[in-house]
Symmetry: C2
Subunit: 431 residues, 2 copies
Amino acid sequence: MAHQLGIGLLGLGNVGGGVAHLLIEGRDRLIERRGLQLEVRRAAVRDLSRPRRVELPPGVLTTDPGAVVDDPDVQIVAEQMGGIEPARTLLLRALRNGKDVVTANKAVIAACGDELFQVAAQQGVDLMFEASVCGGIPIIRSLTEGLVANRIQSLYGILNGTTNYILTRMTEEGGTFEEMLGQAQAKGFAEPDPTFDIDGTDAAQKLVILARIAFGSAVRLEQVFREGIDRIGSQDIAFARELGYTIKLLAVAKLTQDSRLEVRVHPAMIQAQALLASIRNEFNAVEVVGDAVGTQVFYGRGAGQLPTASAVVSDIVDVASRRSGGGRRAENDWTREERLPVVPVEEVVTSYYFRFVVLDQPGVLAQITQILATEQISIESVIQHGRSEDTVPLIIMTHEAPERAMRRAVARIDRLSMVREPTLVIRVERP
Amino acid sequence: MAHQLGIGLLGLGNVGGGVAHLLIEGRDRLIERRGLQLEVRRAAVRDLSRPRRVELPPGVLTTDPGAVVDDPDVQIVAEQMGGIEPARTLLLRALRNGKDVVTANKAVIAACGDELFQVAAQQGVDLMFEASVCGGIPIIRSLTEGLVANRIQSLYGILNGTTNYILTRMTEEGGTFEEMLGQAQAKGFAEPDPTFDIDGTDAAQKLVILARIAFGSAVRLEQVFREGIDRIGSQDIAFARELGYTIKLLAVAKLTQDSRLEVRVHPAMIQAQALLASIRNEFNAVEVVGDAVGTQVFYGRGAGQLPTASAVVSDIVDVASRRSGGGRRAENDWTREERLPVVPVEEVVTSYYFRFVVLDQPGVLAQITQILATEQISIESVIQHGRSEDTVPLIIMTHEAPERAMRRAVARIDRLSMVREPTLVIRVERP
């Protein structure tokens, strides 16, 4: 005999429609393999008259999301509306009504996770969020369960499909940032307003969630250093290749030797032969280093209707198995609280790629290298190709130095009369 | 209050010692984060007097494995002895005694899984085996839980670290198979007798387990087509690079359009830009394609003391959480039984790389291509470099053709007087 459980959906758009589709299409399989009969009993939508791909019985659709979270026939609420409000209020109400909650909403988890998990714990119900980070990739589950015996040492992620698509196409086709952003929008990999993708905010929200699970540490979005990819030019891509590197928008969370946490999102040069350099187009990947397992990488589609819906359904099945079997709540590390201090970005130490745009005159290299030397930044390599223009790019790769010294040096260099544009800095990482 | 549970270890060698180390070193963390106090109460060893890295209280060690599986203070038995007997008998006895069982032993799961899972189901206890495939990579958990909403379409794996190390070093250093096997043995990545690694048996055992979980289908080891890497020469590695490919020992399990299963392990040419081509040295990776999530890849160390022990401990924690929380048994797909028919290897269709070793005489290309044409095997490209020797390698890449036609063609070609060595065939895959 299969256990019957009622599912309520908050949102039946792209992801929500995918969840309904997978639950209906997979119904028999879930009964047979898991002994679970999962029925969509309520679904809140904005517009009842909109045609939908999935057919739900009459009476299931409602324009009142409160009707979903209050419905006594609903045991599990799955939310895929996005944004903080009204999602937060609805999820709290669902939890207080004793329902298990599954969400695909990174914004509400990153911003209100503490409050939501506290209420879930009080109520003895589950709050699951696999789909909020990296779509279909089971990264939350892997960190929580698969790597439970490990102390995580570092986590590097390509967490944003839009920017990875743009950087990959710039690398493989040689186009400019603007051209490839246009291409990403035409293919549906970028929003009409891609600001939060391009400037690193989307990746930073996901990093807040991953850092919490991997390191048990509450990091606020404002504590994540963020830099976007809009200043990366075709010439940087070409120089990176010449130097044996690939440019990626990288999210980094790293435990330091003095038990602090580095959390940052910025373009990074990574060695071309590193696995993360091979992550192409709209795909996501997360590299985790644990003290027992060593390096692991999880790769897949970080967005899209069915990949994200697949993660939502995996959480629903997980919760439903426990609910039907009488087991205790899911283990997760949200409520454990280590509050590792976040390293101020000025103290972060990396190597650097500098692109100085300088007048093609004698003495410029001497002046720039003199300033770097004053800040104790030592040079690994220099590229200066002959050009016919007035200004030429001068590329310098450095050894490791603190961000503070780098910033001081760049500020001084940018005031030199021979330097004609603000210097472009890309940090070098070795995941 | 933490739940106390007794752990019994069968084997305290490399992996078993790692499990004891992680349980002891992680003791406080598991109490604090999971509410579980896991105590190693019994451990069966071969030699009591052997010095060990982990210190266990007096009375824990025994040379009688029966004392572990019969101990009333042991609730969870973790086995890492390897091999079929006596592991099978001991695990059955543990299950019949009502104990949950965790195993790192691929041989016993691949060969006796049906019997073991049947007894576990009768007894209402858990049997977990994450560590039996790909060491620390949480692939069983990801297939069972993370991808539960998917119908798996194909699975490609680099499942054997020894052969991947050898092929990577041959590619990057240019050495011969024998030289790189020696290097792998010196570094501890290959056994003194590496037969089962080299000939594909080790990967095939893992594939039997993965196919069961991914496709719900019982495949016997004898049904997995196996071909080893010992005939791959440095020149094949060089030709592969010239053609834009990388050679890997690939494990393939694929659902066909007529609902049959291809299961095979053999060297394969894969496109150099595919992610699996970037898996270097002793690392493992599994690429899974699900109908909802699309392509996912899981990457990490497939062997080694702590990576494997990490997977054993993740299973122990999982089982212990359920046992302490009163939840029902773990879901897995072993007992579901679809018995998809296995496609006979003669019917498998791939493209091929042929290395013919021929006399450098006129007419040889005409004769060979005539035979391929007779078998309806069409040619994609040909490489023949001028050489000074009597015999020259002639490389032909083909379009897709059934294995049967390929074998007939090669048998006829190998009988030609101008052909001086048995032809080397490498199948081409596009994961």
